[in-house]
Symmetry: C2
Subunit: 322 residues, 2 copies
């Protein structure tokens, strides 16, 4: 199933979100405008705004309130990517040079700051104190998770709990922001809000696990960035953890990579070994488990087209290759 089929119930409004996002680059400062334009026309799938709109669709759906929120979750996402790429010194994202590669660290840090602020300004437009409070709270969780990730680089002493905590912070928190805000802004009953929070959290965790799998099995062309990026940066993801568990010898390539704090030959070996083992399938099973969990209570939502889309989105996330 294609993503565009899935978001069909909110297709028109998503197009409006896209159009409004383009307008964000229309600012007086020509340098800032250039940076914004480039970063807004990247290859994002807009999954987070889709989630906000779909989460609201079963209730009191008011696009005027939802529009700034849907834009804000996407801008938050873009801001974190711009800062991540800068921090990781990444040269390529979505098959094109990153902001930091083209304009340098300075511009990338400032652009990220601007995008965070723009997200804040948009959320404030909802005039809804509950969702206004969610935004900074989410950013605090994300940055705290990123700090934990960077301080754990090349550390072999990490448990699966550490991993889950990290991806819940760095990825699922923003998915929760997307779904929870959609539910709140459409006056969903308390149970509906709770269900959408759970959906966002579990979907976000599944999404990140699949991302981490794709870093092993994807191609650079599909992903628009180099394969093995996580390993190269010393980030211990689920496939790497399972490799360590299953092949505990001293010649384990992940172990060697982490002990040497680098070495592209180990990265290639680890990818090769994972691809030729049942580990990848096992990781997909773990991700699928989170998707199942995400959908577990969706049957308590009103039976709408949008609800069907939420089920389909969980399927899409497991089967995606980009």
């Amino acid at each position: 199933m294609k993503l565009s089929d899935i978001y069909q119930p909110v297709q028109e409004d998503l197009a409006s979100v896209e159009a409004e996002l383009k307008l964000v680059s229309q600012v007086e400062n020509p340098w800032l405008s250039e940076l914004l334009e480039y970063s807004l026309k990247g290859g994002g799938k807009r999954i987070r705004p889709i989630l906000t709109l779909l989460s609201a669709r079963s209730y009191n759906y008011d696009i005027d309130t939802l529009m700034p929120m849907a834009m804000a979750v996407e801008l938050m996402h873009l801001a974190t990517l711009v800062h991540d790429d800068t921090i990781d010194n990444s040269a390529v994202r979505w098959g094109r040079p990153t902001i930091n590669k083209l304009w340098g660290t300075e511009q990338a840090v400032l652009l990220g700051d601007y995008l965070f602020a723009q997200a804040g300004e948009l959320v404030a437009k909802t005039d809804n104190l509950a969702v206004i409070k969610l935004l900074p709270h989410t950013l605090m969780i994300i940055t705290s998770g990123e700090i934990a990730q960077s301080r754990s680089a090349f550390n072999l002493e990490q448990t699966r709990e550490h991993y889950l905590h990290r991806i819940a912070s760095k990825t699922a928190a923003l998915f929760i922001l997307a779904t929870e805000s959609g539910a709140i802004l459409s006056d969903a009953p308390k149970e509906g809000v709770r269900i959408m929070i759970d959906y966002g959290r579990n979907l976000g965790i599944a999404f990140q696990i699949v991302d981490d799998i794709l870093d092993f099995i994807g191609t650079e062309e599909e992903m628009g960035k180099p394969v093995g990026s996580d390993l190269s940066q010393g980030t211990l993801t689920l496939p790497a953890m399972l490799l360590l568990e299953r092949y505990p010898g001293e010649d384990n390539p992940v172990k060697q990579l982490f002990q040497a704090r680098g070495g592209s030959q180990y990265v290639s070996q680890a990818i090769e070994q994972a691809r030729n083992s049942p580990i990848i399938e096992e990781c997909f099973r773990v991700a699928a488990g989170y998707c199942d969990h995400a959908c577990q209570r969706l049957d308590r939502l009103p039976d709408t087209e949008a609800r069907r889309s939420l089920y389909e989105l969980a399927d899409f996330i497991i089967n995606r290759r980009v």
Copy 2:
């Protein structure tokens, strides 16, 4: 006059702000906690929270609402400094190593993001939509100004208007946030809010001009950072502009520095030339003009101790050497 004498009308509450700021570092993530603790015990003068409290003191002063706001303006300030130092690759601030120097770019970018978010969370606690909207708006202005500054580095074709626009964005915007929020949160009448906005803007501009002067006439010991930092980074400030105007020959050190895009001998020459000319005094006169302008309409505020402090603060800002 000492700063502590000036903020006497809000002294106790400022001590509470300070105590509450310390608590910001009490987070679960030990690495984040370490970064926060270090950055919060820096040598800041806390002028922005002082402004928030003093701006409210003449009206309906409620410390419970003002406390999160006063903390937020300081955290915003700290966040911009952490990112600025990272961008500029500065090694020293307040006479001690910077965050980026001690922990690297990655941690510094993430800490700055966290501080912005923490400021947002605090402002949201005021439950006041008007001030909530001011925060992201201010950050957008600041980053836009910083982008303009970095893109204008080593550019000799800048007018005094460019300079004023830049410092209004990068410095005065945060002073306005401090004063305007204090006025709004204390239910100041519309005219009172306008007066405090004007005060903040003009005081902020004066503050930055003095900062730019100190970069020429201060000592490293007083400032806690190297002399001539602005020139080294190619930032054209008022003293440098006046040097260019007064000594238009090809051997003007600022001209040579900017054309060569560096050269510490030119930095020393420019500082020497400015110190031995009437330029510094002229810059102080410009700054004093903004301070006068800041105070111009203060007589329309209620005649309180706090109003006297606002006058004194303007004096302090002109006469400060740190």
